[in-house]
Amino acid sequence: MQGFLKDSIEFLPILLQGLRLTLIVTAGSLVLSTALGLLWALMRVSGVPVLAGIAKTFVNTIRGIPIIVQLFYIYFVLPDLGISLTAVQAAIIGLGIAYSAYQSENFRAGIEAIDRGQVEAAQTIGMGWGLTMRRVILPQAFKIVLPPYGNIMIMMLKDSSQASTITVAELALQGKLIASSTFQNTTVFTLVALLYLCMSIPLILLVGHLERRFGRR
């Protein structure tokens, strides 16, 4: 225990460096996946078969490939095509695209959960598709979508650790670096687990709050 504390004090500053990048990658890919996910979801419910088909194919392909493989492509294979991104950029884009599939399914479920009568009421006052979405459907879907959105955030936070495979020195990679240098695997992994838990807990509480607030009716 003594040793654990001593080691922790030594390791924590290094891990905290990684934590900064973990947060950056998570936040960045959260924004990107939300925007893209919304786009796919709107394409899916647009009623235009071509758009719906494209979105569906994209989402399904993305869902079937492990994130680690997607990151690898974006970071190591895209430069062959002349697109060279920094590791953090690639991580944000890779995780963002990967998670846009989950976001899209979440948004679509939220949109489809809104009573048909709402669309009809909007139509009878002359609203078109865009106006109906913007003024009637999305504001209501928002509340339905929020609790699962919180869960996606927790998952992203943890999956940002996969960015370590493309050299982003985030929490997990820093942990591995320390572990292989000091051989103190147990201490390091315990610290890493605790740090992830500390970041998750506010999110979990937030989700719980959102569920109580919006989930039930």
């Binding site: 009568g117 709402q118 009809e120 009421a121 009878t124 006052i125 002359g126 609203m127």
Partner: protein, 245 residues
């Protein structure tokens, strides 16, 4: 020229032939009630009139304009023919007043202040001057339905379609809504009303259609059809609804 004309309208859902040739018309200022058993196509025909459903053949015209839900002209039809639903379908995330001004402000692009002034007037007129800022879940069913009527009126429509506007209400709240509808009729609003309130139809309607199996089985002046139905099916239906036991 009649305001709303239906000419031999047919409509199927898959193999289910729901509307099998309906021809009728509604003149300006006329109040037409549609009655008939469940599944006879009452809602469907109403929904065809303002393009919520398409129809398979025949024609529907509003002031001479063909109603075609895929054409651009449908917006013009919809802003002139409002609809009130059985389940109110108020926007739950907006207050009563916001519900009412949504169409004028965002579809007709009226200035917000004008729309609000008009909206307040309409809410007052349906007896809800004190509920302007209430959200739908804070209102009783009868109050919600009256907001829905105000929302329809806010579009300054030439006709309003009602689909069983009181069926989802507690019995003691039905009267308030019917009273508002009667006052609209008295002021000359063109109305098509699907209803089971035979008393209302008898007192307010100019004409009653009895729908059965997707066709107009009987049609006539309200007093006549409701008191002395000629068609035995109409008679049977009225007996069941008026004397359930």
């Amino acid at each position: 020229m009649p305001m709303i004309e239906l000419d031999n309208v047919h409509k199927s859902f898959g193999a289910n032939r729901v509307i099998r040739g309906i021809t009728t018309h509604v003149s300006k200022g006329e109040v037409v009630c549609i009655i008939g058993p469940s599944g006879s196509g009452k809602s469907t025909i109403l929904r065809c009139i303002n393009g919520l459903e398409g129809y398979d053949s025949g024609s529907i015209r509003f002031e001479g304009i063909p109603v075609n839900r895929t054409a651009k002209s449908i917006t013009a039809v919809r802003t002139q023919v409002s609809m009130v639903f059985q389940r109110f379908n108020l926007f739950p995330h907006r207050t009563a007043l916001e519900n009412v001004i949504e169409g004028p402000v965002f579809v007709k692009r009226e200035p917000r202040a004008d729309a609000q002034a008009h909206g307040r007037l309409l809410l007052e007129r349906v007896g809800l001057a004190d509920k302007v800022g209430a959200h739908p879940h804070e209102l009783s069913g009868g109050q919600q339905q009256r907001v829905a009527i105000a929302r329809a009126l806010a579009m300054r429509p030439k006709a309003i379609l009602f689909d069983e506007p009181t069926s989802a209400l507690d019995p003691e709240l039905v009267g308030d809504v019917l009273a508002v509808m009667r006052s609209l009729a008295d002021e000359g609003m063109t109305m098509v009303v699907v209803t089971h309130e035979i008393g209302f139809a008898r007192e307010v309607a100019d004409r009653v259609l009895f729908l059965d199996g997707g066709v107009i089985a009987e049609e006539g002046p309200a007093a006549e059809l409701l008191t002395n139905p000629r068609n035995p099916r109409t008679r049977d239906f009225l007996r069941r609804v008026l004397k359930p036991l």
